[in-house]
Amino acid sequence: MLTRRIIPCLDVKDNRVVKGVNFVNLRDAGDPVELGARYSDAGADELVFLDITATIRSRKTIVELVEKVAANVFIPFTVGGGIQSVEQMDELLRSGAEKVSVNTAAVDNPELLAEAAQKFGNQCVVLAIDARRSKDRTGHWQVCVKAGTEPTDKDVVEWAAKAEKLGAGEILLTSMDADGTKAGYDNELNKAVTDAVNIPVIASGGAGTLEHLYDAIVDGGADAVLMASITHFENYTITQMKEYLRDKGIPMNL
């Protein structure tokens, strides 16, 4: 049986892993290559590296970092942040990333998802969605772009369903409202999206306790759970998370 995945997320800024609350107030959490290798050894199922400065400063993506990580990490990892084109995706995949995630560029040009899927296969193409609860419409979420700085008029659930049709193979769904708060995932959001698509969904934003992980899988329907604060600052080890979930009947790779 396919196991549910535990995915530490490494937000990278100026070659350091950082973590903030609601996308601001960044705190240093270590060297990305070292941290990646440590998570790989500790039994993480997968890693996500997000270059959180790339979109804002239009910096080139983090090819060198990907090469270093790939030489030391033998589990799959996704790279995202500021990726604009199929050529950039190709470079990152060739450097050793398993998957690439796009957000702003796919909103600007949805055909990018189709082009990428036809070239790399849809399993390589992750659509990252930064979702913010709509103030006007209850039970709706807005897609935000440029590292969460710009709201759009796109509805998250509709966008997720459209992206699946275009060629996205996975959705990395971050609740901006919950991110970094450690108050639990937004499972209403997770459920709305997992019900609307038939591709895997990674729940992101808000993990604070072991129970939160369980809730995202059971109530939110998430195929994988992503976390940063609670694992970088060593509240819980990967093994603790997996044992807790396994003991509650969730299939895990332990």
Partner: protein, 202 residues
């Protein structure tokens, strides 16, 4: 020397990294002379089937020659799917035809791609899995799956609500749908086993 075929698709370097990590010599190359001299070949792959076949281009004949000659060949993911006769991913494409069977979509009614770590039942008679016991988790990421129809093919399965083929072997030709280079310790052991198979064959 193992040659990992560099044919302009994603992920080729990861396979070399993994071999290097376990102390095995592996060269990334698309040079026909280097490929001809290989003791074993690895055909990796992160790509759509049609794109991968086109990217392999004229090297396809050479890969078939080396494999027919009896040297070990390991196909990974799309590289594994290419060992079969045809695929229906984004159109109809011909594979290398080294193993009888076709590549078809994973049956509907479940989340697709099949992405993540799944438990594989490891048959005792597949030397690729020597020392790994009866079952291990490996990392999968695919939307299409191969259906071998050649009776001489040894098969390892995984359960995704339907039985999916996780790995095959026909004589010196090996393939894994999963990514051994991304499957942690168990995956590195598979690559070590392949390296040993190449050494013994040489």
């Amino acid at each position: 020397m193992i040659v990992v075929i560099d044919y302009n698709v994603g992920n080729v370097r990861s396979v070399c990294n993994a071999f290097r990590h376990i102390g095995c010599e592996a060269t990334l190359s698309r040079d026909p002379k280097t490929i001809e001299q290989a003791t074993g070949l690895v055909l990796p792959g992160v790509a759509a089937f049609g794109f991968a076949v086109n990217a392999l281009g004229s090297l396809a004949g050479l890969v078939k020659e080396v494999a027919t000659d009896g040297r070990p060949l390991l196909g990974i993911c799309v590289g594994y799917q290419m060992l079969f006769e045809t695929s229906s991913e984004y159109g109809r494409h011909k594979g290398l035809g080294l193993i009888g069977g076709d590549v078809v979509p994973i049956p509907q009614g479940r989340v697709i791609p099949h992405m993540g770590w799944n438990l594989v039942d490891l048959p005792e008679d597949m030397d690729l899995f020597a020392g790994l016991g009866n079952q291990k988790h490996f990392y999968f990421a695919h939307s299409f799956c191969a259906e071998p129809k050649d009776e001489r093919t040894k098969i390892a399965y995984t359960d995704y609500g339907v039985e999916l083929v996780a790995s095959v072997q026909k004589a010196n030709i090996y393939g894994t749908q999963f990514h051994p280079e991304k499957s942690g310790k168990a995956g590195l052991k598979v690559l070590q086993n392949f390296y040993n198979i190449c050494k013994q064959n040489n």
